[in-house]
């Protein structure tokens, strides 16, 4: 089933989106209790890059070498970043297996990501100047507390609660997906894609990498492919309606836009609330009501609609 949600503020100011997205996702816990994920857009101090990566999962078996291996791999990530010329400002250990690194780097992000992911069990969850993806097993409040999201302020965010139907329950299978190697783009998806393998083979031949068996990862990688060819987010999303088969409602975000697309059957839900200062959308209105406390007018977009808002 899965539940998706998004908020974007139009005033450009910083808002407590970590808390707000948590309230939205927690109210949709019944749509997916397996894992919860956030793509949050803040402003990184001094305009550098932020990378979120993980070296294991909450449910990875803990063998006798586990902690030692984590330490070695973590050291390896930092030394590889430095070897490529990145200047690391800060490393935060949010859980024993998931980390946040802030650094300056002017080179090729694909090369940097590939070099980091060459380390066994390393996966770059997000990379960008504003984007930070946080995802883990459990409901929204669990992940919120674990990763200290109450201190996260920003301009826009998307989130996802997952009921796994097609692939593993682990961090790699959780949404949002980062549009490797395109910085600051992320996607959450509710639905199933039926031409997954065709697109996966096609995109792999074009040099894209996949970290999971989850069909939703295709959307992020597809949008990255189109956008690196010069398309805007909106153009890429319009094309996806014809090129992706299956049922879907997905939300895609860049550093200053948030867009939503629905398939031609309007099979998956989406409720939309627009006001002068805020656009909020979610699989169920109850999620929007979790952050707006008065009576509101909302509507459900129709089939094949693509809507994009600027920050």
């Amino acid at each position: 089933m899965c539940g998706i949600a998004g908020i974007i503020y139009r005033d450009g100011a910083q808002h407590p989106i970590g808390d707000e997205m948590t309230r939205m996702l927690q109210s949709m816990k019944h749509r997916g209790p397996d894992s919860t994920g956030y793509a949050l857009y803040g402003s990184s101090p001094n305009g550098g890059l932020v990378m979120r990566y993980k070296l294991a999962d909450a449910n990875t078996p803990r063998d006798f070498d586990f902690e030692d291996r984590l330490r070695r791999h973590r050291f390896e990530v930092e030394s590889r970043l430095s070897a490529l010329g990145a200047r690391i400002h800060e490393v935060e250990e949010e859980t024993p297996y998931a980390f946040r690194v802030a650094f300056d780097f002017d080179g090729d992000l694909k090369l940097l990501t590939d070099f980091v992911e060459d380390i066994p069990e390393a996966e770059v969850l997000s990379l960008g100047r504003a984007l930070e993806i946080v995802k883990d097993l459990g409901d929204a409040e669990t992940v919120h507390e674990q990763y200290g999201l109450s201190k996260f302020n920003g301009t826009h965010a998307i989130g996802h609660v997952r009921m796994a139907t097609e692939s593993e329950v682990d961090i790699a299978g959780a949404h949002p997906y980062w549009a490797y190697p395109y910085s600051d783009v992320a996607v959450v998806h509710n639905g199933q894609l039926t031409n997954y393998f065709m697109w996966r083979r096609r995109l792999e031949r074009a040099g894209r990498r996949f970290m999971s068996e989850c069909d939703s990862e295709i959307i992020a990688v597809y949008l990255a492919q189109e956008m690196s060819g010069g398309a805007t987010l909106e153009e890429a999303m319009h094309r996806s309606l014809d090129e992706l088969d299956g049922v879907f409602t997905y939300i895609a975000v860049t550093k200053d836009e948030l867009g939503v697309a629905k398939d031609e059957l309007a099979a998956k839900p989406l409720v939309l609330y627009e006001s002068d200062g805020l656009v909020a959308l979610a699989s169920e209105e109850i999620a929007i009501r979790a952050i707006v406390d008065h009576e509101i007018d909302t509507y459900d977009p129709y089939e094949r609609e693509v809507l994009v808002w600027q920050q």
């Binding site: 816990k29 019944h30 209790p33 031609e264 059957l265 309007a266 099979a267 839900p269 409720v271 169920e284 209105e285 109850i286 929007i288 009501r289 009576e295 509101i296 007018d297 909302t298 509507y299 459900d300 129709y302 089939e303």
Partner: protein
């Protein structure tokens, strides 16, 4: 204490169903009228309170403030009464009802009035997809727009929307009427067996075996009567669509009608 006709839930693995909920008994009751604020209640306690009022306190008219778009409110009410929700409902609102007259001042989510047997439901705002799914009887009036697949599997009754409707409206409908005063999306009346769809605006495309029908005086009388009863003003000019009956032969009767025939 469980309300009339309700089974106790004893096992709840996911922690969502509140097996130990009690009737909150917070309503202000004034003779046959009652009102309560649902702001601090849960879905289950709102429904318990509503059932307690209608089935045990002899209340005939209930007003509920702050429903807060919660799911499954006002379901399974099988008595004649008036209910007013001051606000919006989530999914499955007012499903499986038989008899009530319900007014919702906000909007409703997916599958509102699913399998409604009789009564009247008026929604001032918009409605989500699958509105009036498997409707059996009664009138469902949506003053805003409705989502996709409204009137799916409809088996009776009337759905009226003053706004537009999404794709596959009246999908596999078997009986009853759908009136759409705005535009309608692709696949109108796809695979319908019987029943009638009236559309005032543009039809994006007709579904399989849905064809324009011949307008009769009975159609005009029905539309005029429904609009008058619900105070919707004068009806717009409507096109009529029916089943082409190329694909299906359908002559099933409701159980009550079968008795009459026999």
């Amino acid at each position: 204490m469980a309300a009339v006709g309700e089974q106790r839930i004893t096992y709840d693995a996911r922690g969502l169903a509140e097996p130990v909920a009690e009737v909150p008994k917070i309503s202000e009751i004034d003779g046959q009228r009652a009102r309560f604020d649902a702001k601090d209640l849960t879905t289950r306690t709102i429904n318990l309170e509503l059932r307690w009022l209608l089935y045990e306190q002899g209340v005939k008219e209930v007003e509920i403030d702050n429903p807060g778009s919660r799911h499954s409110l006002g379901v399974g009410i099988l008595t004649r009464c008036k209910i007013r929700f001051n606000g919006s409902l989530g999914y499955f609102g007012c499903g499986l009802i038989d008899g009530p007259e319900i007014h919702i001042t906000g909007r409703v989510g997916w599958s509102a009035c699913e399998n409604m047997m009789s009564g009247v439901v008026v929604v001032d705002g918009n409605a989500g997809s699958l509105t009036g799914a498997a409707l059996r009887g009664g009138d469902l009036v949506v003053k805003g727009r409705v989502g996709a697949r409204s009137g799916i599997d409809q088996k009776g009754g009337t759905i009226i929307t003053l706004g537009s409707a999404g794709s596959m409206t009246g999908f596999m409908m078997q009986r009853g009427r759908i009136v759409i005063c705005g535009d309608v999306g692709p696949g109108l009346g796809d695979s319908m067996y019987d029943g009638t769809i009236y559309v005032a605006g543009k039809v994006a495309s007709l579904g399989i075996d849905c064809v324009p029908g011949e307008w009769t005086d009975a159609d005009a009388e029905l539309i005029e009567r429904k609009f008058r009863i619900h105070g919707l003003g004068s009806p717009p000019e409507l096109q009529k669509f029916v089943c082409g009956k190329v694909l299906y032969n359908y002559d099933k009767l409701e159980p009550s009608e079968r008795k009459l025939v026999l």
